[in-house]
Symmetry: C4
Subunit: 255 residues, 4 copies
């Protein structure tokens, strides 16, 4: 296998599609969002490409005893309403700095091949605390894209995210711009501690508006409810621990 090995699983004729990327990251927000899109648009999507690479971990996943080699999958979607899409999902990021450059270039090659000139990179931005109102923070490769996204409720903040955007999501903007793509990153606020389906929903609601699609959130809301249960238990445990704080007297015997 070469550094990159791309399987052309199927072909699809798309009309001016948008590449939407959702690889694992903070709160798994991007991956949850794209996987939900795939689930909702199931009848209208076709797996078109699998990308294998030396840059992924040397690993197979096992389901029911059967192995699958680490890869990224790209689906072509022609929904009955709204824009055509290329949905990119996978279980792993590249393992080296250079790998992020190599894979992002490959993803943009495939986007070009299918006629895409717009990219949305989905992800999460960590706030460090549990969130009530899920804002979606944005970044764009070109100023001209600010207006439409602001109308869709995306917040653009001075010098945020402070450390910039790292990995494939960042490079889809950086390398995308150099190759003539219009690229935006949509980042749902999330605590950063837990898988966050609510943050994924916030990001998808922006996409509904921008891409003229309509989504049902039942399955994502169910996952959010499960997570609420987990969060509830964590909070209970924390409160319990606070009540159990040892006194000075206890500490003398532990120290």
């Amino acid at each position: 296998m070469d550094e990159l090995d791309i399987d052309a699983v199927a072909e699809a004729a798309l009309d001016d599609p948008v590449l939407v990327e959702g690889l694992p990251g903070v709160g798994h927000v991007g991956k949850l969002a794209v996987d939900h899109l795939l689930e909702e648009l199931d009848g209208e999507s076709t797996l078109v490409r699998r990308v294998y690479s030396h840059e992924f971990p040397p690993q197979v996943s096992i389901e029911g005893g059967v192995s699958e080699l680490t890869c990224v999958e790209i689906y072509a979607v022609s929904p009955t309403e709204g824009r055509d899409l290329l949905l990119l999902t996978g279980d792993h990021q590249a393992q080296t700095n250079e790998g992020h450059y190599v894979l992002t270039s490959a993803f943009l090659d495939i986007a070009e091949e299918f006629g895409a000139s717009e990219v949305f990179a989905l992800g999460g931005v960590p706030t460090g605390e549990l969130i009530d109102e899920y804002a979606v923070v944005g970044a764009v490769s070109d100023e001209s894209m600010l207006g439409e996204l602001e109308e869709a409720g995306v917040e653009f903040r001075e010098d945020e995210p402070a450390g910039g955007i790292v990995g494939v999501s960042g490079l889809l903007l950086g390398l995308g711009e150099r190759r003539g793509f219009e690229a935006a990153c949509l980042m749902g606020e999330t605590s950063g501690y837990l898988v966050d389906p609510k943050s994924a929903r916030a990001v998808l609601e922006v996409l509904e508006d921008v891409l003229d699609i309509e989504l049902d959130y039942e399955t994502l809301d169910e996952r959010a409810d499960e997570m609420e249960g987990v969060i509830g238990k964590i909070q209970e445990m924390e409160q319990q621990q606070q009540m159990d704080v040892p006194t000075d007297d206890d500490l003398r015997y532990i120290g």
Copy 2:
């Protein structure tokens, strides 16, 4: 030396052989198993290839003052009974992610060269505790292989191993499948703390069934007895330590 440097030590005409891989890993199960096969099939095996690579540690081993450069060795075996074999053994894994891809590809090239279309990757799966009944957990590159291995006593478990299979064993399945091999990984349960000849025997007993070979386990059982002695001593020490647990009173003076 290039990234890969393969010595054709000898040639051998094999009839539909099976590649059996046993590099170092959890409990050294895979390596113990293949080395035992080599020992048992000594009179019927020929060293055919040595694989050197930049991907191995830059190291020679020394025996009796004489150096040997780190490599993987592949033996051709035509047993009087049962399937022809290609046995792959060595003292080191690749040192980088990319190295695992490069070496696995080279091993599959050699398997192809000798006419093999089946692969067994042998290894261990860690359970975290000492084991009484040694189950063998399996993973296959294609569903069609499940039946025969289940009949031979291999267990296939939903989503296990949880983290997938990493390294050469995993890639023999993942890359193997992409090149048309039928590949299976047989993983003996093992505590993960110690070299485990009993787990290697459990894996070999599956192979005996599947490959129509018969093995004697005397030398492997001797190593198992030695390990039992080591385990006994560790357990004694643990019990001793539990009896020596300091009281609260002692702790006050240590704290």
Copy 3:
């Protein structure tokens, strides 16, 4: 994108220019110095090259919601007085050993392209303590350069810096010399704990002398004043902590 991707943003005819490098490092001295030069020579400078590379972190920075791919920028400057300059600035160093070699070679290629045969690498040398008198320590690629720099106040010390000079600054001397450049490294003494505009000023004052340019330090002095405030607060906190040191009696209850 290839390992290196150089944008020729503009061209400029320079007369025997000097390359001045200031990438991030100890006390950010080099970067502060070159960025101040750029600010002061704003009306007379042109951005001529952007260097992108796999060797940089896979990252975009975000300002006002708009992304910019990590790169190094090179400006051509023809000041009304003094030598022509090529100013090299950026937010990141290479991330690997090899990357430092690759990028330094690219920078020297560009310097050559614009007719430069002299290089000044600017940086800081850590002293481990706060500094009153900011000395500038030097290193040169060829003995013949010692005299002029000593006259400009640069100190050359036996076996200092002890560990040599690492990264782009070091390689501009080492690789520069091999390609026929006269290269010097000017290192302002700095504590190593804080961004140090005063150390940057000390380095720039040497450059004023050597390059026959004149600089105003108002904005750099303002940043130095801000840092003084920060240092003052740290010192206060340290003194406060010393006064709060617990007694033996306190410690018994904490231990």
Copy 4:
């Protein structure tokens, strides 16, 4: 600069020379030994090659303010008595696994170019304790070399060094053998904690015998005396500390 960049500083006609390598390592034994050879054979040696590489740290050393790029130097020596030599010295090892392979191959290329077919790799083997009698442990690329070295006092031990030999010294044997060199590694026993001129002398005394050369050890013995002083002070401090061990009573107040 490419991955390798070799300066042909001078040429020299040698008669069946032996390559002697001494890069930094355990106790700096190898480097001390080769540098002492260079010092002793000063009038009869010529610097013939400098090897630069991306595989070295990106670094210049500074002496008296003047920089020198990290490299390995190879000297040709035609002593009035004894075998012709190629002496290899430097301040750094390669920084990656692959780098050790790349550099060792380059060193063997140069050895071949000058007509060498024998290699001595010099180094130290750590014992973990201070040493009275300095044994020299050996390893060879081919059994046939054992006899002559045993006669010269080299000890060959079963399975020692236990972990094999890592880095350039190990690969000079491993890659050397594959290219038809007779290669031996001579390892002076050394504590492993300190630079060890006595261990270097032990190694050189073997070389005197094997290469028919005669060496004076005055300067090396002076360095050994300096180290004795350091060791004496360390031992004093250790004894002092043992006398200062706190009682249980003291500890109660520290805990």
